[in-house]
């Protein structure tokens, strides 16, 4: 099977045909979904794309550079708040969208460096708890900076945020093109898709670049990497900054899309879910990370139909669907990890490791995340 796959991969025509089919599918997806499943699912698609961007950002930090980050959602929050404060009646500022995204990404990157700088010496689980703490600190500040000077409007959140717009083209309105009607959630889909593709492209390019290889080197053996002349400090900070900037972009889009943000959207559980996405999908592998983000956004929503499933199987509802939803979600996490410990689509490196000797893997893992070495 693998051989056939390899052969197929090298057939250029087949590859192009796949790309074109994929492009058509992605372009038609909101319409297909909207027709078959309803607009609610188009909104879920929009969020899925936001999570794809978030997961790819975290993948740089955790998957490439091997720095376990449990406070990643803080950068998403920073991006969202930058957008909200600069484009809402809260301060009466209404900056244009093209300026907002880079500012959000930039400020998020600065926060990434701020987090990275004091934690350079930390490894593994110590890094995890410090990043977790950092994420909580950001959230607590956002939640409380409404006094003595009202900056974030505290727990009440920021409302009436400007929708994303290019010049006169507002993404939140319904547009008609070639006789097709594009409601706001559809146009947002295309915008998010474009940016997600951009981030995928950047991630792909980074993977095999000098920087990407330096990250892998650090992940594998920091001391050896340093001996090879890699400036580990700068390279680590770059990973934090890069990952954070992706989250900043994603956060800005979230703020513009929702029109309202409050600190409760940026809690620890969100950080954990994004981490689950990349581990479950396959850390370090872009396709895997995307798959993880897609599954973990869609699966909990699909589980809302458990009521119907029960009706279908047993003819009546045995247990409250809402009660079972998260239970099944948790079980799915456990089962997937037990059956696919390297993720659903492991990176090539990890697959090799798994195929070979388990002890080699254990050793490699130890060097990756062991705080005591």
């Amino acid at each position: 099977m693998i051989e056939r796959w390899q052969k197929w991969r090298h057939d250029r025509r087949a590859v192009w045909a796949t790309y074109i089919a994929l492009a058509v599918l992605l372009a038609a997806l909101p319409f297909l979904t909207g027709e078959v499943l309803g607009r609610g699912w188009v909104r879920i698609l929009d969020f899925t794309l936001l999570y794809v961007m978030l997961a790819l950002g975290l993948n740089i930090v955790v998957g490439y550079a091997g720095l376990l980050d449990l406070g990643y959602i803080a950068f998403y929050a920073v991006g969202a708040y930058v957008y909200a404060l600069l484009a809402s009646p809260h301060f009466g500022l209404h900056l244009p969208f093209w300026a907002l995204l880079p500012i959000g990404a930039g400020i998020a990157a600065v926060f990434g460096i701020l987090l990275g700088a004091p934690t350079l010496r930390l490894r593994g689980d110590y890094l995890a708890i410090v990043t977790l703490g950092f994420g909580e600190i950001i959230r607590i500040f956002l939640n409380n900076l409404n006094a003595p000077v009202n900056i974030t409007n505290g727990p009440q959140g920021v409302n009436l945020i400007d929708p994303i717009a290019f010049g006169g083209f507002s993404f939140s309105q319904t547009h008609t093109l070639f006789g097709l009607s594009f409601p706001g959630i559809y146009t947002y889909y295309y915008l998010f898709l474009a940016l997600a593709l951009l981030i995928i492209f950047v991630s792909l390019r980074l993977q095999n670049s000098r920087i990407g290889r330096a990250w892998v080197a650090i992940r594998e053996d920091e001391v050896a990497a340093e001996a090879m002349g890699i400036n580990t400090r700068n390279i680590k900070l770059l990973a934090f900054a890069m990952g954070a900037s992706f989250a900043g972009i994603s956060g800005g889009l979230f703020a513009g899309f929702q029109g309202f943000i409050s600190p409760e959207s940026f809690n620890l559980f969100e950080s954990i879910i994004v981490l689950c996405m990349i581990v479950l999908g396959g850390m370090g592998n872009i396709a895997g990370v995307i798959l993880g983000a897609v599954l973990l956004t869609i699966f909990p929503e699909a589980l809302r139909y458990i009521g119907e499933l029960q009706n279908y199987l047993f003819g009546r509802i045995l247990a409250d669907p809402a009660d079972l939803r998260m239970l099944i979600f948790g079980l799915a996490l456990v089962l997937i990890m037990i059956f696919r410990p390297a993720g659903l689509l492991p990176s090539v490196r990890r697959r090799q490791e798994f195929g070979s000797d388990a002890s080699v893997l254990a050793q490699e893992q130890a060097s990756l995340y062991d705080a005591r070495r």
Binding site: V36, S265, L309
Partner: protein, 396 residues
């Protein structure tokens, strides 16, 4: 592909397929007719999982009871017999999930939405309902911002923070005679919103806020903040937050030997609070929007029916019940369950609900906003008095 992996995928595919199947079915039964009877879907959204699940379930039960009663009595709209179906969704108290769920309800062409429970979820969702022209009545969102957005589809049967906060603050100073007042809030949209308004009202009534402390809606230990409050010798402590924190807080207050009076909002005026605080609940005062349920027409009956079916009322079930009944009343006035038809009727509804007289002002807030003060006596909430919300308070 190996065996176990294969089965794994089939399970997922199966679940998704069923999801598809279920959605497909949904389309045709918007307000479609089946054998002379029209089915009208009403959405209900609240957190059914997570730390606030007990409150969410309570709202769900309240709304369910109302629609069951309406169905049992039989309603005819536009010459056809109507059966109401409650579509309950879980927003996990999360703003993002709230918008997904809102969109989903719009897809299912619900005729109206009862919810959401929290302000933080009601606000982002209200935009989606507004765009779709679907009326939304929140039983429990109190943030001023909710109805201040100018959406003519957004209503609530609960007083807002300003209405309730003003009454509470004045009551603390004037009726309870406290001059030195400490305020704690739980840093949620609800707790902070209410506490800020109480602080303003206390100051306006000539009281002094001697300490402002904070906790979270997940905390159980308040000894540290209570100890620093103790040093300032307060006569009264106001807590803006829910019963699950309020009850241990009042216990710890007493265990530290602080004799200050304890005052709370509607989050504290619950049967749960009495259960959790036990003996320490003695002499606690708290407010609840609306009139005392037992003195309302149909009130005691509601309480009995609800408790028989679902057990003790948590907090907002009567408001969810009223929200549902109000929505149905507007449909009856318009003689139609179509949102476009009955929406203009909502502002004209005047009815006696179980929580008080219900009518909306031009923004969708409840008019007048009577607020009843309760005190714990012998392990029960006892009515102290009903304060009419100052008409000026809900303007501004």
């Amino acid at each position: 592909m190996s065996g176990p992996r294969m089965t794994h995928w089939t399970v997922w595919a199966f679940i998704l397929a069923l999801g598809l199947n279920a959605c497909g079915k949904k389309e045709e039964t918007a307000t479609g007719a089946t054998a002379g009877e029209t089915t009208v879907k009403i959405g209900q959204v609240s957190p059914l999982t997570g730390p606030q699940a007990h409150l969410g379930k309570d709202n769900d039960n309240g709304a369910r009871l109302a629609l069951d009663e309406v169905n049992a009595a039989g309603v005819t709209l536009g010459g056809r017999k109507v059966k109401f179906v409650l579509v309950s969704e879980d927003d996990m108290a999360d703003p993002r999930t709230a918008t997904i769920v809102a969109q989903k309800l719009v897809d299912q062409r619900v005729a109206g939405v009862l919810g959401h429970l929290n302000s933080g979820t009601s606000i982002p969702a209200s935009k989606i309902y507004f765009d779709a022209g679907i009326p939304q009545i929140s039983p429990s969102a109190t943030a001023i911002a909710y109805t201040a957005q100018g959406f003519k589809t957004a209503f609530r049967v609960m007083t807002n923070d300003r209405q309730q906060g003003k009454v509470l603050g004045e009551f603390a100073v004037k009726q309870l005679g406290a001059k030195r007042i400490a305020i704690i809030d739980d840093r949620t949209a609800y707790g902070q919103g209410l506490a800020d308004e109480v602080e303003k009202a206390v100051k306006a009534s000539g009281g002094e806020v001697i300490a402002r402390e904070f906790t979270t809606d997940r905390s159980t230990d308040f000894l540290a903040i209570l100890t620093s409050i103790k040093a300032k010798k307060p006569e009264l402590l106001f807590y803006g937050g829910m019963d699950a924190q309020g009850a241990p807080m009042v216990k710890q207050l007493r265990s530290l030997g602080i004799q200050a009076k304890f005052l709370g909002g509607d989050g504290v005026q619950t049967s749960e609070f009495l259960k959790l605080a036990g003996a320490a609940a003695g002499d606690v005062t708290a407010s609840s929007p609306g009139l005392p349920i037992d003195s309302m027409p149909g009130g005691p009956e509601f309480r009995k029916k609800f408790t028989d079916r679902y057990g003790a009322i948590q907090t907002y079930a009567p408001y969810a019940y009223d929200a549902a009944m109000t929505m149905v009343a507007a449909m009856k006035m318009a003689d139609s369950p179509e949102p476009a038809r009955y929406l203009p009727m909502l502002p004209r509804v005047e009815r006696a609900g179980v929580t008080g007289q219900i009518s909306f002002d031009e923004r969708g807030d409840i008019r007048g906003g009577a607020i009843t003060m309760y005190r714990v006596r012998n392990g029960k909430w006892e009515v102290l008095e009903t304060v009419m919300g100052d008409a000026a308070a809900d303007k501004k």
